[in-house]
C-alpha cells in the first residue's frame, strides 16, 4: 500500500496540473483530482491495467472532467479561486513569451488542451493517448495535428520569434 501511495504522491502534482489546465480554477481542479483519486483507489484491484500508472490516472481524471461538465454547469461557478496565480515562474523573459503561448493554450477547446499536455508536456506516446481517448492511433495523430495548428494560429502575432531569412 505504502509503495503505491508513494508512486501516487509523485504523480499528484502532474494530475493537479492537468486538472488545472482543464478546469482553469485551482479549487475545482483539486476537487477533480480528489474525485479521481477516490475513483482510482476504490477500483484499484479490478480495473487498474498493466502499464503506465500516470496514463491510467489521466484517463480517469479526463473522464471525470467530461462527466462533471456534462452533468451540470456547476463547475463554472464553483468556488472562488485565488486572486493571483503569480508565484513560481521560471524566469522573466521566458515567462513573457511563454505567457502568450499559455494564453493561446487556454483558448483551445478542452480536448485539444488535454492532447497537447499529454503529448507535448507529459510526453505520453500516441498509443497511450489512443488508449485514454479510446480511439485509433491515427485519429490521435490527426487531432494532434489540428491542435498544434490551432495553437500556432492563436499564438501567431503574439510571439515575436526571431525569423531567419536566407539572404542571397
Amino acid at each position: 500500500m505504502n509503495d503505491i501511495d508513494e508512486q501516487l504522491r509523485e504523480i499528484i502534482p502532474r494530475l493537479r496540473r492537468f486538472a488545472l489546465s482543464l478546469s482553469r480554477q485551482p479549487s475545482s481542479a483539486d476537487d477533480l483530482v480528489q474525485a479521481s483519486l477516490e475513483r482510482a483507489l476504490s477500483s484499484w484491484g479490478e480495473k487498474r491495467p498493466e502499464g503506465d500508472l500516470r496514463a491510467w490516472l489521466f484517463a480517469i481524471l479526463y473522464r471525470q472532467f467530461l462527466d462533471a461538465h456534462r452533468r451540470s454547469r456547476r463547475y463554472a461557478r464553483m468556488l472562488e479561486f485565488f486572486t493571483g496565480r503569480d508565484d513560481a515562474q521560471p524566469s522573466v523573459e521566458r515567462s513573457v513569451v511563454a505567457q502568450s503561448t499559455l494564453e493561446a493554450f487556454d483558448r483551445l477547446p478542452a480536448e485539444q488542451r488535454a492532447l497537447l499536455l499529454w503529448v507535448s508536456v507529459e510526453g505520453l506516446s500516441y498509443k497511450e493517448v489512443a488508449t485514454i481517448l479510446d480511439v485509433p492511433t491515427g485519429t490521435v495523430m490527426s487531432r494532434l495535428s489540428r491542435a498544434r495548428q490551432a495553437l500556432r494560429q492563436l499564438s501567431d502575432g503574439e510571439i515575436t520569434s526571431p525569423s531567419l531569412r536566407i539572404l542571397k
Binding site: 503505491i4 501516487l8 493537479r16 483539486d30 476537487d31 496565480r85 511563454a98 503561448t101 499536455l117 507535448s120
Partner: protein, 250 residues
C-alpha cells in the same frame, strides 16, 4: 518506414520523438533541404517547448492535504463503514417500527461535519505531526500579514498574541472543499503552538455564530465576518489556552 515528402503525421511524430532512428535521420536530411517546412516544424517545436515552460509552474502548487492518498484511503474506509452503520441503524429501526424509525433517520442525517473541522485537521497535520514544510516562515505579524493579504482581501487582521508570549512563525496555504484556506502558526518560547485559520464561507456562504468547541485534546474558537470564516485552534485545557483566554478576546 516513412515516405518522402513526409506526411504531416510524420512531422508530428518527429516532433514528439516517436519516429524510429532511421526515419528520424531520413526526415532531418529532407528538412535540411526544405527550409520552409523546417521553419514550420521548428515553430511547432517551439510551441511545445514554450508550453512546457509555461506549465512548469503549475507543478509547484502549495500542497493540498486533502489529496494525500493515505488520507483518501482512510476517508474511503470511514465512509463505507458509516454507510454500513447507517444501513444497520435503519434496519434496526424498521424492526422497532414507525416513530422510532423516523428518529433513527434523523440521527443518520444529522452527521453533518462540525464547524471548522478543517481548521482542527490542519492543526493536527502541521502543528502536531509537522508534515510538509511551510510556505512562508517569518518572525512576527508584519510580513505574515502582508503575505496573507495577497490571498485574502479585507480579512480580519491577524491577532496580536505577543502579550500571551506567542509570535507568528509560519504560514501555509491549503485548499479545502470550501475554497482556499490559510493557516498561520504561532509559537511561544516553550514551543507551544496555536493556529489562526482563515477560509471563505464556501459556496453556500455558511457563516458561523461565534462559538467554540473541543475536539479530543484540541479546542477551536471560531467566528465569521462578512467575508470569511475564522478559527483559532489551541491545545484545550492547557496553561497555554488559559493564558490565551486571559489576554485575548476572540
Amino acid at each position: 518506414m516513412i515516405s518522402l515528402p513526409p506526411s504531416e503525421r510524420d512531422l508530428h511524430a518527429y516532433i514528439d520523438h516517436q519516429l524510429s532512428e532511421s526515419d528520424r535521420r531520413l526526415l532531418e536530411t529532407y528538412l535540411s533541404s526544405h527550409p520552409q517546412l523546417a521553419a514550420q516544424v521548428q515553430a511547432w517545436q517551439q510551441d511545445a517547448q514554450q508550453l512546457r515552460a509555461a506549465l512548469g509552474g503549475a507543478l509547484q502548487q502549495p500542497v493540498n492535504p486533502n489529496l494525500d492518498p493515505t488520507l483518501i484511503r482512510q476517508r474511503l474506509k470511514r465512509q463505507s463503514r458509516r454507510h454500513l452503520a447507517s444501513a444497520a441503524l435503519l434496519l434496526i429501526a424498521l424492526g422497532v417500527g414507525g416513530l422510532s424509525g423516523w428518529q433513527a433517520r434523523e440521527m443518520t442525517l444529522a452527521s453533518a461535519p462540525l464547524p471548522m473541522t478543517d481548521a482542527l485537521q490542519a492543526y493536527r497535520l502541521f502543528a502536531q505531526q509537522g508534515v510538509l514544510p511551510a510556505d512562508l516562515e517569518v518572525r512576527g505579524n508584519g510580513a505574515m500579514q502582508a503575505w496573507l493579504d495577497r490571498y485574502f482581501t479585507q480579512a480580519e487582521r491577524l491577532p496580536d498574541l505577543r502579550e500571551a508570549g506567542f509570535q507568528a512563525v509560519s504560514g501555509r496555504l491549503l485548499s479545502t472543499d470550501q475554497g482556499p484556506a490559510a493557516m498561520v502558526l504561532y509559537e511561544d518560547q516553550g514551543g507551544h503552538r496555536i493556529s489562526f485559520y482563515i477560509r471563505p464561507p464556501g459556496p453556500k456562504n455558511y457563516l458561523l455564530p461565534r462559538g467554540s468547541r473541543s475536539d479530543g485534546e484540541l479546542q477551536a474558537d471560531y467566528w465569521s465576518d462578512s467575508g470569511y470564516n475564522y478559527a483559532m485552534v489551541s491545545p484545550s485545557g492547557s496553561a497555554v489556552a488559559q493564558r490565551l483566554q486571559d489576554t485575548q478576546k476572540f
